[in-house]
C-alpha cells in the first residue's frame, strides 16, 4: 500500500498551561488524493488537531505522519520546513498579507520550501496559471491582495496552498465567509485543482451540507476525544 497522505495513531497531546486542555486521537488516516470533510463545532479540539497535523505543536505521544514522515521525530525548525514543503493551508478568512501583491502571497510558501520551488519550475507562470484556472481576473497578480473581494482572496489562498502541489491541503472552514453561491463555485474550483495536483484534502467545517462533495465525511468527535481538566 502506498504511503497515506496523513496518518495519526495513538496521538495524545495537552496544551501546557492552557487550562489543561488535552486531546487524544487513537487513529485517523487520509489516503493520497482523498478528500475528507471533518465536521466539528468550535471547541471540539479542531484547532489543536490542525496544529498537530501542521506540526505547529508536537504530539506528547503517538505518531503524526504526513506523507510517511513522523512529525514528532523532526525538530521544531525542521517541522516548519516540512510544513512549507508538504502542506498547503487555507484559513477561514484573512488568508493573505493585505499589503503584498497577489503574486507575492501565492509565491510565499516557496520562499520556505526549496523542493516545492524546484517542483514548480517557472513559479510566476504557475501562479498565473492557477489564478486563471481559479477564475481570477487577468492582471490580478500585481494587485495588492487587500483590494480583492473576500471570495477572490479565498481563491488566491487556494492558489497559494496548491502551488508546488503539496501532498496535503488543510482547509479550516474556508467557505464560511462566503455566501452560498460563491461557496459552491469555490469548492468546485478547489476540487478541480486538488484533483489535478493529486493532493489530499482535509477540510474542517461545521456545515454538513458540504458533505456530498467529499469522499468521506467524519465527525470530529468520532476520531478525537478531548478532556478539559477541572480548573
Amino acid at each position: 500500500m502506498t504511503k497515506a497522505a496523513l496518518e495519526l495513531s495513538d496521538v495524545r497531546f495537552s496544551w501546557p498551561g492552557k487550562g489543561g486542555f488535552a486531546l487524544t486521537c487513537p487513529t485517523f488516516a487520509l489516503g493520497q488524493g482523498e478528500s475528507v470533510l471533518l465536521l466539528g463545532e468550535s471547541g471540539s479540539g479542531k484547532s489543536t488537531l490542525l496544529s498537530l497535523i501542521c506540526g505547529i505543536v508536537a504530539a506528547d505521544q503517538g505518531e503524526v505522519q504526513v506523507s510517511g514522515t513522523d512529525l514528532g521525530k523532526l525538530r521544531v525548525g525542521a517541522r516548519d520546513r516540512f510544513r512549507a514543503e508538504n502542506i498547503g493551508v487555507i484559513f477561514q478568512q484573512f488568508n493573505l498579507l493585505p499589503y503584498g501583491r497577489v503574486a507575492d502571497n501565492i509565491l510565499l510558501p516557496l520562499r520556505f520550501s526549496p523542493e516545492r520551488r524546484k517542483r514548480v519550475g517557472d513559479s510566476s507562470a504557475e501562479a498565473a496559471r492557477l489564478c486563471a484556472d481559479l477564475g481570477l481576473p487577468d492582471g490580478v497578480m500585481n494587485t495588492p491582495a487587500g483590494r480583492l473581494s473576500v471570495g477572490q482572496q479565498q481563491r488566491v489562498a487556494v492558489a497559494r496552498a496548491l502551488i508546488g502541489r503539496p501532498p496535503l491541503i488543510v482547509a479550516d472552514e474556508p467557505t464560511s465567509a462566503l455566501d452560498a453561491a460563491t461557496q459552491d463555485t469555490f469548492l468546485e474550483l478547489l476540487f478541480r485543482q486538488t484533483r489535478e495536483a493529486g493532493s489530499a484534502v482535509l477540510m474542517v467545517s461545521h456545515d454538513e451540507r458540504l458533505g456530498d462533495r467529499f469522499d468521506r465525511v467524519i465527525r470530529l468527535e468520532d476520531i478525537v476525544k478531548t478532556e478539559r481538566a477541572a480548573a
Binding site: S47, S51, I56, V89, P98, Y99, G100, R111, F112, G146
Partner: protein
C-alpha cells in the same frame, strides 16, 4: 521577497510608521547637529591662532589670557607695562613680538591697537596669513583696518570715517578724533573678522584727555597738537611672541613667568586651548548625553509602536507560520522592520541635518564665528548612524521576542 513584504507592511501602516520614523529622524538630526556644532566650534577655535609660540599678558589664568587676547572674550584684569614688553622684546630668543592693546569698541565690535607687524605675524587655520580685501595697512595715526564682518555689517568702504567709543559698552565716543578706514581684511573665520584694528599710538592718542577712565574737563586737545605728542604707550594688554627656535619656547616661557618686575603670564596657545577643552568638555558631554537620550526616547517610541502593532498582526503572523515561516523568521522580520525604520529615519535625519546646516550656517558664522562645514559625513558620524540602527535592532528584540512567543503559542490558529 521578504524584504519587499516587510517594506509593504511598513507602508501599509504609513501613519504610525511615519511618525516613528520622523521621531527617529529628528533625534538623529539633533544628535548629529550637536556633534557638528561641537566639532565646528572646536575647529573654529583651534583654527583661530597658529604660528604664535607664546601669548604674554598680565598674570591671570591661561584660559582667560587666551580668551581675551585671541578670542576677544572677556577682559584683561591688568596690563603689561611697556618696560616689561621691551624687556621681552629684547630677549635673544624672541624672533618677533606683536603688542595688543584692547579696551575700546566701535559699535558692537572691539577695537584692537597693535602694530603693522600684526598683519604679517598673525596666522590662522594652519599658517594662513591675513589678506587685504581692499586698501592696505595702517599708514597714518588715524588709520584703521577693519575685519570682513565689520565692513560687511556696517557697510564700510575704504576711506569711510569712523568714531571709536570708549570702553566696551559705552555711549561716550571719542568723537573728537575720527578715524579713516585704510584697509578691509579678507574673511578669515576668526575673531579678526569682528575687530577694528588701529595703531598702538592711536589708542594713546584718543586717551590723551582721559584720566582713569573719565574724560577730563576742559577743551579737548586739538588733533594737530596730539600728532606732535610722544604717543609711546605706557602699557599694553598682551603680546604675541614668536621665538627663533621652538626649543627655546619653554625657556622663554619660564623666564617670563618668573619675571620679577611685574607678575606676567606666558602661555602656549595650544596648551591653553587644551585647558579650555577640558572646561568646555563637561558641557559638551552634557549636550551629547542629552541628545543621545533623545535618540533613545525615539527608539523606545518605536519599540512601543511595534509592541502595540503585535496584537493586530497576530493574524499576519499566523499566515507566515502557515506557509512555513519559523518563529525565528518572524522574530527576524520584526527586527528587520525596526532596522528599516531606523535606517530610513537615520537617512532622513541626515537630510534634515544638511538642510538645517544650509539654513543656519551663515547665521552661526555671523553670530558666533563658528563655521559649520557642509561636507560628507565623517567616518565617526557614519559610525554614530550605524550605532543608532544597531540600537534600534536591539530595542526591537523586546517586542520581537514577544511576537516569537505569541507565534509559538498561537501557531496558525488565531480567531479574529
Amino acid at each position: 521577497m521578504i524584504f519587499r513584504l516587510a517594506f509593504g507592511s511598513l507602508i501599509a501602516r504609513a501613519l504610525t510608521v511615519g511618525m516613528t520614523i520622523l521621531a527617529i529622524a529628528l533625534s538623529v538630526a539633533l544628535f548629529l547637529g550637536v556633534e557638528k556644532v561641537r566639532t565646528g566650534a572646536r575647529d573654529s577655535f583651534a583654527d583661530t591662532i597658529s604660528g604664535t609660540d607664546l601669548i604674554v599678558g598680565a598674570r591671570s589664568g591661561s584660559v582667560q589670557l587666551l580668551l581675551y587676547s585671541v578670542f576677544r572674550i572677556g577682559n584683561a584684569t591688568n596690563n603689561v607695562t611697556w618696560e616689561s614688553y621691551e624687556d621681552i622684546a629684547n630677549r635673544e630668543e624672541v624672533d618677533w613680538i606683536v603688542p595688543i592693546s584692547l579696551g575700546d569698541s566701535h559699535k558692537q565690535f572691539r577695537v584692537m591697537g597693535t602694530t603693522n607687524e600684526f598683519f604679517d605675524r598673525y596666522k590662522f587655520r594652519g599658517g594662513r596669513s591675513l589678506d587685504f580685501a581692499e586698501g592696505q595697512g595702517i599708514g597714518d595715526l588715524y588709520d584703521t583696518v577693519v575685519g570682513a564682518d565689520v565692513a560687511e555689517t556696517l557697510g564700510y568702504k575704504v576711506g569711510d570715517p569712523i568714531v571709536v567709543a570708549h570702553g566696551l559698552a559705552s555711549f561716550t565716543e571719542h568723537d573728537d578724533q575720527p578715524f579713516r578706514i585704510a584697509g578691509i581684511l579678507a574673511k578669515t573665520g576668526t575673531p579678526v573678522d569682528r575687530t577694528v584694528i588701529v595703531s598702538l599710538e592711536a589708542i594713546e592718542a584718543i586717551h590723551v584727555d582721559w584720566q582713569t577712565g573719565a574724560k577730563s574737563a576742559g577743551p579737548a586737545t586739538p588733533v594737530e597738537q596730539i600728532r606732535q605728542m610722544d604717543l609711546q604707550p605706557q602699557a599694553i594688554t598682551a603680546a604675541l611672541v614668536g621665538v627663533k627656535s621652538r626649543l627655546q619656547i619653554f625657556g622663554l616661557q619660564r623666564w617670563i613667568n618668573e619675571y620679577s618686575e611685574e607678575p606676567l603670564l606666558a602661555v602656549l596657545p595650544g596648551v591653553a586651548l587644551q585647558e579650555l577643552w577640558q572646561i568646555v568638555g563637561v558641557a559638551e558631554n552634557a549636550l551629547i548625553g542629552v541628545s543621545a537620550m533623545v535618540v533613545l526616547t525615539a527608539l523606545i517610541g518605536m519599540m512601543a509602536m511595534i509592541f502595540s502593532s503585535l496584537n493586530e498582526r497576530r493574524r499576519e503572523m499566523a499566515i507566515w507560520r502557515a506557509v512555513g515561516a519559523s518563529p525565528v523568521t518572524i522574530l527576524g522580520m520584526l527586527v528587520l522592520e525596526a532596522v528599516l525604520m531606523a535606517a530610513i529615519g537615520a537617512a532622513l535625519g541626515v537630510v534634515i541635518l544638511y538642510a538645517g546646516l544650509m539654513v543656519f550656517q551663515p547665521w552661526a558664522d555671523a553670530a558666533y564665528g563658528i563655521w559649520l562645514p557642509i561636507e560628507a559625513p565623517s567616518l565617526y558620524e557614519l559610525q554614530l548612524l550605524g550605532a543608532v540602527i544597531m540600537a534600534a535592532a536591539l530595542a526591537s528584540l523586546v517586542p520581537a521576542l514577544r511576537a516569537y512567543r505569541l507565534s509559538l503559542a498561537d501557531g496558525m490558529m488565531v480567531r479574529i
